[in-house]
């Protein structure tokens, strides 16, 4: 879960590659506050198929000890994981509830 939040920085122009590559600018840009629906996984139903992990457009699902774990610092609450889950064991819950 503890992701490296450090964005790659440069001191001088010569250090820059010709094109933008792996600047990690999004790592330093937590987007979790955009969310109004939060995915909650019922791990007792989960079959560890990794589909939610593959489909998350923000790479906000980590795979820890054979289980999916939502990284709420980055999850925007789009609900794609819940839509794609074959066991329908991810529920989108209103934030603040």
């Amino acid at each position: 879960m503890a992701k490296d939040r450090k964005k790659i920085d440069f001191k001088k122009m010569e250090e820059l590659p010709p094109m933008v590559m792996s600047l990690r600018s999004m790592a330093a840009n937590p987007t979790g506050s955009w969310r109004n629906l939060k995915p909650v996984i019922d791990l007792s139903q989960c079959i560890q198929c990794t589909i939610c992990w593959k489909f998350c457009p923000d790479a906000a699902i980590d795979w820890i000890d054979d289980n999916p774990v939502i990284n709420l610092d980055f999850c925007k609450g789009c609900g794609i994981c819940a839509e794609e889950c074959p066991k329908k064991c991810i529920e989108m819950i209103k934030e603040g509830k």
Partner: protein, 383 residues
């Protein structure tokens, strides 16, 4: 080996000799034969390449971007509406610094629907970060593809090779096909330092804040400045091996010319015939053919036009409400460096032929005038 071939096939041979590894293209008149022949060459296993059939030109360029990112030598070809559909990805290819080479057969933009030549399609892509080389013979087309990869891979910027629809694309000329071994020596395999690599994964093109965006743009501009140096260097290097010379501009009887006709593409060869005829009657006219639009050869243009008393730019294109696009480019190079009066004539849009008479008419219209009395002039239009 010499062979009689159409301009479109000269592109296919140029790409084959360059040993392109991925070809992704969508057919459009007047470009179709380029990829038709390439697909046959790949199917016959005479070229080891992936030929990707795509559903649009946007996808064709996207496939080239993917292939080039993985370090492959990528190629495509298109025209007019197809090029316009690629527009977003032209910026992407250049911004991602991918040395893709594409041929564009100049076809006028619709509507009204048309398949004939003018240069508005490629000139509209002027600011996308692509180099643009305008050709006047099938030999130059073939050679330019090879040179384009050499320059592109050195500076990591893409190149567009441009030729007129029909008057070059479908016109048969004798073309010397260079020896593959010589081309291999001149253009070694592309070793891309920043390629996609599963052993060393990277993300490309990610969000960049105002803190660094501008520096990436400065790097692109510097790469284009370097490209100008490389084009001049490769002109000499290519001549040494293959005997043919391609500079940024191509002058014809310019040194002592009082009036210089500035043209690009195939109109130049007609202009040169007109120059000979006008000179025979004592009219000191010359022709400057613009070959490279980007990077713009400021110094060469100023040098070639330094003795001229009158400059006449003949555009096969127009920026509505302004000038012809070449006129705007050449004028900006002269501004502050020269007092020479500049006329701008628009001719040959939508495939209307440019004849020697077109140039006689232009020279007659300029006549003894000391300076232009209109921003631009239309030539040979119906009254």
């Amino acid at each position: 080996m010499k062979k009689v071939m159409m301009g479109n096939h000269a592109i296919s041979y140029g790409a084959t000799l360059s040993r392109v590894q991925v070809i992704a293209a969508y057919p459009i008149t007047p470009q179709t034969q380029v990829v038709e022949l390439l697909s046959e060459i790949v199917a016959d296993q005479k070229l080891k390449a992936e030929f990707i059939k795509v559903e649009s030109e946007h996808s064709a360029m996207a496939a080239c971007i993917g292939a080039s990112s993985a370090g492959a030598r990528a190629f495509t070809a298109t025209s007019a509406q197809g090029l316009a559909l690629m527009h977003e990805l032209l910026h992407w290819a250049a911004g991602a610094r991918l040395p893709i080479v594409m041929a564009n057969i100049n076809r006028a933009m619709a509507p009204p629907w048309t398949i004939w030549s003018d240069q508005n399609d490629s000139l509209s892509q002027r600011d996308t970060g692509w180099m643009q080389f305008y050709c006047q013979s099938n030999q130059e087309v073939l050679d330019s593809v090879i040179i384009a990869y050499k320059v592109a891979e050195k500076v990591l910027m893409p190149v567009m090779i441009i030729l007129d629809a029909f008057s070059l694309s479908h016109t048969y000329e004798s073309v010397d096909i260079p020896d593959q071994a010589l081309v291999d020596k001149y253009l070694p395999p592309f070793d891309y330092k920043y390629k996609l690599d599963v052993q060393n994964p990277h993300t490309y093109g990610g969000l960049t804040t105002p803190e660094w965006y501008m520096e990436f743009r400065i790097k692109m501009h510097e790469a284009m400045d370097q490209a100008l140096v490389e084009i001049k260097k490769e002109a000499v290097a290519f001549k040494k091996v293959f005997g043919r010379y391609y500079d940024t501009v191509d002058p014809y009887m310019v040194d002592d010319a009082e009036t210089v006709l500035v043209t690009s593409g195939t109109a130049a060869s007609t202009a040169r015939y007109a120059v000979d005829q006008l000179r025979a009657k004592g009219n000191k006219v010359g022709n400057l053919r613009m070959r490279v639009l980007r990077p713009f050869p400021f110094a060469d243009v100023r040098e070639q036009l330094k003795n001229a008393k009158k400059v006449i730019i003949v555009d096969r294109d127009i920026s509505y409400g302004y000038h012809g696009i070449w006129a705007q480019e050449v004028k900006s190079a002269l501004y502050g460096h020269s007092q020479v009066p500049v006329w701008n004539f628009i001719a040959g849009l939508g495939g209307r032929d440019i004849f020697p008479e077109t140039f006689y008419d232009i020279i007659a219209q300029v006549g003894k005038k000391k300076k232009p009395d209109q921003e631009l002039y239309w030539v040979e239009v119906k009254k």
